[in-house]
Symmetry: C2
Subunit: 336 residues, 2 copies
């Protein structure tokens, strides 16, 4: 920067201002500086800038898995919005493990992110302490935590499945099973899946169904393969079953393919519904009835909220904890 300043005949401070844009630099001076920058091939060093200004320009984002397009879309939404502020994203994958989440947060805090966005509302005690100590904005997404750490952008996973149950009952189904939604295990737990199963169970109780059946599928990530095996078990264990709700569209798809193999008509012999409105569900045959939640919207809303929260923190006017509820809808398709 000193080289650029010398070449443009100004001080480094003026170069710094010119490069940050907008602020109080005469147009002619700016032009001269930009020319010097180009001629020298100068690239601003944000590391030094971050140290000096105490603004890293980073936000940490933690999601359970790489291979779930729902979470990827949320990250995309966050990234789109925050890149407008020049904020970059540090992504971490927890593999559905809360211990791994804590480890990642520990590592990431060393980069002094200006905010942290996590998935879900269940975390280790250590994670909560780290985040409180860090004294930066925190957003929990994809769920409505009972005791939020900071801000929330989510929805009730249980409510989505209650709605799905209501819809299936309305369509005349009475013997409805549920696939997925295990409790926590050694390798991590699928909290959102468990919530969805709770929604199923609450609906069974509330709607006065006399029978119900849950087929667990093991540790997350719940995948296509699990759905195929689970649907066979469901039908074997409960031959009267008329419909199955899967914890996600992936096992729903696996279940449908397995039904094709066994020549069980879908929805004739068994209706199948999923969760997440994955691309696959729109083009599968039959198309899959599902719960749609805009994952990108979760990300965009979280991004905007984080942007506001960071501005608040910078100006010593912290944003009071916000809670944004993302709407969901039931999309009925051919599989029910």
């Amino acid at each position: 920067m000193a080289d650029v300043a010398r070449r443009a005949g100004v001080s480094t401070m003026t170069v710094s201002r010119a490069l940050k844009g907008g602020r109080s630099v005469k147009e002619e001076t700016r032009t001269r500086i930009m020319r010097a920058v180009d001629e020298l091939g100068y690239v601003l060093d944000l590391t030094a800038g971050a140290l000096s200004s105490k603004r890293s320009g980073f936000v940490s984002v933690l999601i359970p898995s790489v291979n779930n397009s729902n979470f990827s879309e949320t990250v995309h939404g966050i990234s789109d919005v925050l890149s407008e502020d020049g904020t970059q994203i540090l992504v971490g994958y927890t593999d559905y493990s809360k211990a791994q989440e804590q480890r990642l947060i520990e590592t990431m805090l060393r980069r002094r992110p200006e905010g942290v966005i996590v998935t879900g509302g269940v975390h280790t005690e250590g994670t909560r302490e780290l985040l409180e100590q860090a004294a930066i904005p925190v957003i929990e997404t994809w769920d409505m935590p009972a005791d939020p750490i900071g801000h929330v952008v989510g929805f009730s996973n249980a409510a989505t499945i209650e709605d799905m149950m209501a819809r299936l009952l309305f369509r005349g189904y009475r013997k409805i099973g549920f696939i997925g939604g295990d409790d926590g295990r050694a390798n991590g737990s699928d909290d959102r899946g468990r919530e969805r199963r709770l929604g199923y169970e609450r609906a069974v109780a509330a709607l006065g169904l006399e029978t119900s059946h849950v087929v667990p599928v093991g540790d997350p990530p719940v995948s296509i393969e699990h759905g195929g095996r689970a649907v066979v078990r469901l039908v074997e264990e409960w031959p009267d079953v008329e419909a199955a709700i899967c914890v996600s569209d992936l096992p729903a798809f696996g279940a449908i393919m397995e039904c094709h193999r066994r020549e069980w008509a879908v929805p004739g012999r068994l209706a199948i519904a999923g969760f997440g409105d994955f691309e696959i569900s729109r083009f599968c045959w039959p198309t899959i009835t599902t719960v749609s939640v805009s994952c990108t919207e979760i990300g965009r809303k979280a991004g905007h909220l984080m942007s506001r929260a960071i501005k608040g923190a910078r100006s010593e006017k912290p944003l009071p904890p916000q809670s944004v509820v993302i709407p969901h809808s039931i999309i009925e398709r051919e599989s029910t």
Copy 2:
């Protein structure tokens, strides 16, 4: 760090050494320091460390899209390997646009990454200049560039489809079409798709087929939906067609689902093959014949190579350009 040093009765230098691990600090001193760290809830500031040591601990990774699990797996592989060195990843999505790629690289270089990993072998002139100026290790992946920037971890996309063609011919198919693989367009081009189409065309010529037919699908990302429409066009335009190779498993899946709808038996009426060995292809009905390339392995190999290259750069012994070829294989399943 000064607070920790005071509490432990040492200098900041000793704290720094203790925190970096391994190096010359008496065990007892280290214990004392760690206790102080815990008591104070101290978190090391890597930003300051990076500035001082001139080692950012970052590597930039650029991939075309969030929503392609193949690329995500490659990132996962890179991240797994590099996290062992304590290196963090800055991911950028180019949306298949070379201009966007250049913009992202410009932005990321401001963080002084110690290396850059890009997807594909075609880039803007500006990108090449930026990377050369930066004088850091560069790895191109997912292709075998004619004129590499630095290192390469990839495979020949054309060769994979030539192999697929040979296999289909061996199985008795003669009238084989190709879906996808457009040339560049306004919104970016799918270079790997184009390479695959070239492989198809080379095979058509080399194997002495008299007829061939390509159905383009438009700008990437090529998706499930495109496959459904394209297969209809293929059959309408070339009623004799016996088999179709798709540029990826996603359109192959879409094509198969569309065939189910129209009651065109797969592979009876039309055999369909894809590329990428996506999870969907293993569980779809019928299961999909595909080209398998280990995406995670591309990532792991690139990660290891980057690790070596960075160590080389640090010790002033630059690693000469390496070229790693990732093997591929044809997986025959029910769809052919």
